[in-house]
């Protein structure tokens, strides 16, 4: 039996915010998104769907996968957790969180919860639309001494100690049979929308209980963000004409050598 914990985050769909609103937000210093519906962060959503596909794939091999989903958030997370339960997630958990917590604190709370479960695989999205620090999965991997693979686009069962992981690095896809336990950071995977449960599946999972954790705020050891400062907002753009990425890299490399920015 392989146990998988998926961590996910609900967030507003920033693509739906108009240019005019961004401008207004910049002028007035606040962006009110109360009217927008929240959705699962896109890479987290891929992770949730890939875990279900992993479970489906197990069914054909005689293996078994137990799925668990956890999210820190407000009440609106509840309906997503119910959806996940209807889709076959065996356990779900909501960590109450009214404010946007810093990644250190989130990983601390998650870690506390995960420690109890002792999963074989922790699945997180690579980034989120806002505050894309990519820190949560890395901090967790560090905490548990687990290997962390980023840019993951797929993972499939091998045996109880191994899985096959496909991941993207520098524009290339790699496939590897990796030993468990693992933290998988799901990258940009096309067409991995979360499947939709039928009303019958929802009805069948109506008795599902979501575990709710109230974080102990007094015991907050994570980093505290005290303020932001724009370091440098200048950007310069130049088109490099190269027939492919290697040729373009060669042009940049030669130029940097010439300008003395780097040594050979």
């Amino acid at each position: 039996m392989i146990t998988i914990i998926n961590c996910f985050k609900m967030e507003k769909d920033y693509d739906k915010v108009s240019e005019q609103e961004w401008q207004q937000a910049a002028d007035e210093g606040k962006l009110d998104l109360g009217y927008l519906k929240s959705k699962i962060n896109v890479t987290d959503e891929s992770g949730l769907e890939l875990s279900l596909r992993f479970q489906d794939a197990c069914a054909g091999t005689g293996q078994e996968a137990q799925l668990e989903a956890v999210s820190a958030g407000e009440e609106n997370v509840t309906s997503t957790l119910q959806t996940l339960a209807a889709l076959g997630y065996d356990r779900t958990c909501r960590i109450c969180n009214k404010e946007e917590l810093d990644p250190g604190y989130v990983s601390q709370i998650l870690a506390g919860y995960i420690e109890e479960t002792d999963p074989d695989i922790i699945v997180c999205g690579d980034s989120s639309a806002a505050g894309s620090s990519k820190a949560v999965p890395i901090l967790m991997a560090e905490r548990f001494g687990m290997r962390c693979i980023s840019g993951v686009t797929d993972f499939t069962p091998v045996d109880d100690e191994h899985i096959k992981v496909v991941y993207r690095r520098d524009g290339r896809l790699y496939e590897e049979t990796a030993s468990l336990p693992l933290v998988l950071m799901i990258g940009n995977v096309g067409r991995t929308y979360l499947r939709v449960p039928t009303l019958k599946q929802r009805l069948a999972s109506a008795g599902h209980e979501i575990k709710v954790i109230e974080p102990d705020r007094d015991n907050h050891k994570g980093a505290v963000i005290t303020g932001f400062r724009i370091e440098n907002n200048n950007r310069q753009t130049e088109y490099i004409d190269g027939s492919d990425a290697d040729a373009a890299a060669r042009i940049i490399y030669d130029r940097l050598l010439r300008e003395g920015v780097i040594d050979r």
């Binding site: 927008l36 519906k37 929240s38 067409r191 929308y193 979360l194 939709v196 449960p197 039928t198 019958k200």
Partner: protein
């Protein structure tokens, strides 16, 4: 003997410039259907006869020549403009049809600020017309969710209705005059007057004809002062649909005319809002001169005060949400991606009924669809257009396409759901189509819908299109199996 495909193309090229006659395989395939077959569109499956050509008309004269040729040679034609049809109106149901595209007839001919009316060709996109008018402080008052897609000819041809209908009405309340071309090439112009009493209102032969009687080349619609600064948005949560219907009815009966009056059931509300908390949601917008908007808003508030447990929603949330309701090409592309990935598809069917039956229709449809449709993932609905005597319900449903070839999806799911909705509407005395038209999908219920008045529709069709060349299968079906009317 039927004229061959090659001959049709050859003759069309004699009538028009070569460049106006398109025979590109992909264009032809995509022109054989509309969003009624959304799943087939997503899966790149084509089940309808592929047309012989798509012709891009540039003038009334072009249309005249095309319709004369088609009539003489028994060639079925399918008029189109914005291609946002969702009930099969654009399907080329007969072999070797010709699709007549009016999008190049896209000139705004006159904006008359004295008479407060605008005249434009059929291919004028509503959104660009509306943008132009708003810059002048004017509006058509017409705002269907498909505003970024639909064009004036199609909007008239389908008897469309916009989101501000409770104040401005449907297109039938806005239309002033028209120019149309009938099979054989006869051009008719209906002049622009405020009202007249000279026999039947012949505009209604054109309105809603769905391309099955004539081609609309020009339309004149009313325009209004655009004064968004006076808009007042309102939102409320109520316990159930019965309370919601009660509020809507009272607003109408008391004589208030908010431009927007919508009621979402809890499933539909959950699709739209994070904050519905398992309740139904009422949305209103009052507009017009400041004093009128204010009085309308106050009247609605007073009615709401009489409803137990009604909760007020922040108007700013409602305003921002409402301004994002429209669907353009971007949303359609996004939806396509999701359908391909999940095989989960969402569709809508809209009906109408008087106040004394609308709640019954709503309840029965929800119950029957929940119990009878396999692989259903959501069924809900909202009402968005209310009248003194009743309202509409716009059912929204999603299902997973399971163990089913793309060609069969329409029969296994979509038609089954349409059948249930139409049966309930007819059973309680409502109408099977509030604003999307009968198309070819719901044409199979035309006899039940019309009852004894089918005689009038049939007579119109026979009189204006004696050779059966105008969008055959639309309004009145041509392939109809009385034993299995919903199996296409």
């Amino acid at each position: 003997m039927a004229i061959s495909r090659e001959k049709i193309v050859e003759e069309l090229k004699n009538i028009l410039r070569d460049e106006q006659v398109v025979t590109d395989e992909q264009v032809l395939k995509e022109s054989s259907r509309d969003r009624y077959r959304k799943y087939e569109q997503c899966m790149d499956v084509y089940t309808q006869p592929i047309p012989a050509a798509v012709v891009f008309a540039e003038s009334t004269e072009d249309i005249t020549k095309i319709l004369a040729f088609a009539d003489e040679n028994g060639v079925n034609v399918v008029p189109r403009t914005g291609q946002s049809a969702i009930e099969g109106g654009l399907e080329t149901a007969k072999e070797n049809s010709v699709v007549i595209d009016g999008t190049r007839m896209n000139k705004v001919l006159e904006i008359n600020e004295t008479n407060m009316q605008v005249t434009c060709q059929c291919g004028v996109p509503l959104e660009s017309l509306e943008d132009q008018l708003r810059e002048m402080g004017l509006t058509t008052g017409h705002s269907p969710q498909s505003k970024p897609l639909a064009q004036m000819g199609g909007l008239v041809a389908t008897r469309s209705i916009g989101q501000f209908s409770t104040l401005y009405g449907g297109i039938e309340d806005m239309i002033v005059g028209l120019e149309v071309v009938f099979p054989g090439g006869k051009v008719c112009r209906i002049k622009n007057v405020p009202r007249r009493s000279v026999g039947p209102d012949i505009r209604h032969i054109v309105l809603g004809n769905e391309g099955a009687l004539c081609f609309i080349t020009e339309v004149t619609v009313k325009i209004f002062k655009y004064q968004p600064e006076n808009n007042i948005y309102m939102g409320y949560k109520v316990d159930n649909m019965t309370d919601g219907f009660k509020v809507l009815r009272q607003v109408m009966v008391d004589g208030y005319k908010p431009s927007v009056a919508r009621l979402y059931d809890l499933q539909d509300a959950e699709m739209h809002f994070d904050w519905a908390d398992g309740k139904c949601v009422l949305v209103f917008m009052a507009e017009g001169p400041a004093a009128v908007a204010k009085a309308t808003a106050e009247g609605i508030e007073a009615i709401i005060a009489g409803i137990d447990n009604a909760e007020v929603v922040d108007p700013a949330i409602i305003e921002k949400w409402f301004n994002r309701l429209n669907w353009g090409p971007e949303q359609i592309a996004e939806e396509r991606e999701e359908i391909i990935a999940t095989k989960n598809i969402g569709i809508t069917t809209e009906i109408s009924g008087c106040w004394d039956c609308i709640n019954d229709i709503y309840d029965e449809v929800i119950e029957r669809i929940t119990n009878e449709v396999p692989d259903l993932t959501m069924i809900g609905g909202h009402t968005s257009h209310s009248y003194i005597n009743g309202t509409n319900v716009y059912f929204t449903y999603y299902y997973n396409v399971v163990d089913c070839e793309p060609e069969e999806e329409i029969n296994k799911y979509h038609n089954l759901i349409n059948k249930i909705i139409c049966e309930s509407a007819v059973k309680y005395g409502g109408s099977i189509a509030h604003h999307h038209g009968l198309g070819k999908a719901r044409a199979h219920m035309v006899w039940e819908e019309y009852g004894s008045s089918f005689y009038m529709l049939d007579t119109l069709k026979k009189a204006f299109d004696p050779n059966g060349i105008m969008n055959m299968g639309t309004l009145i079906p041509i392939k109809h199996d009385p034993e299995n009317p919903w199996r296409f």
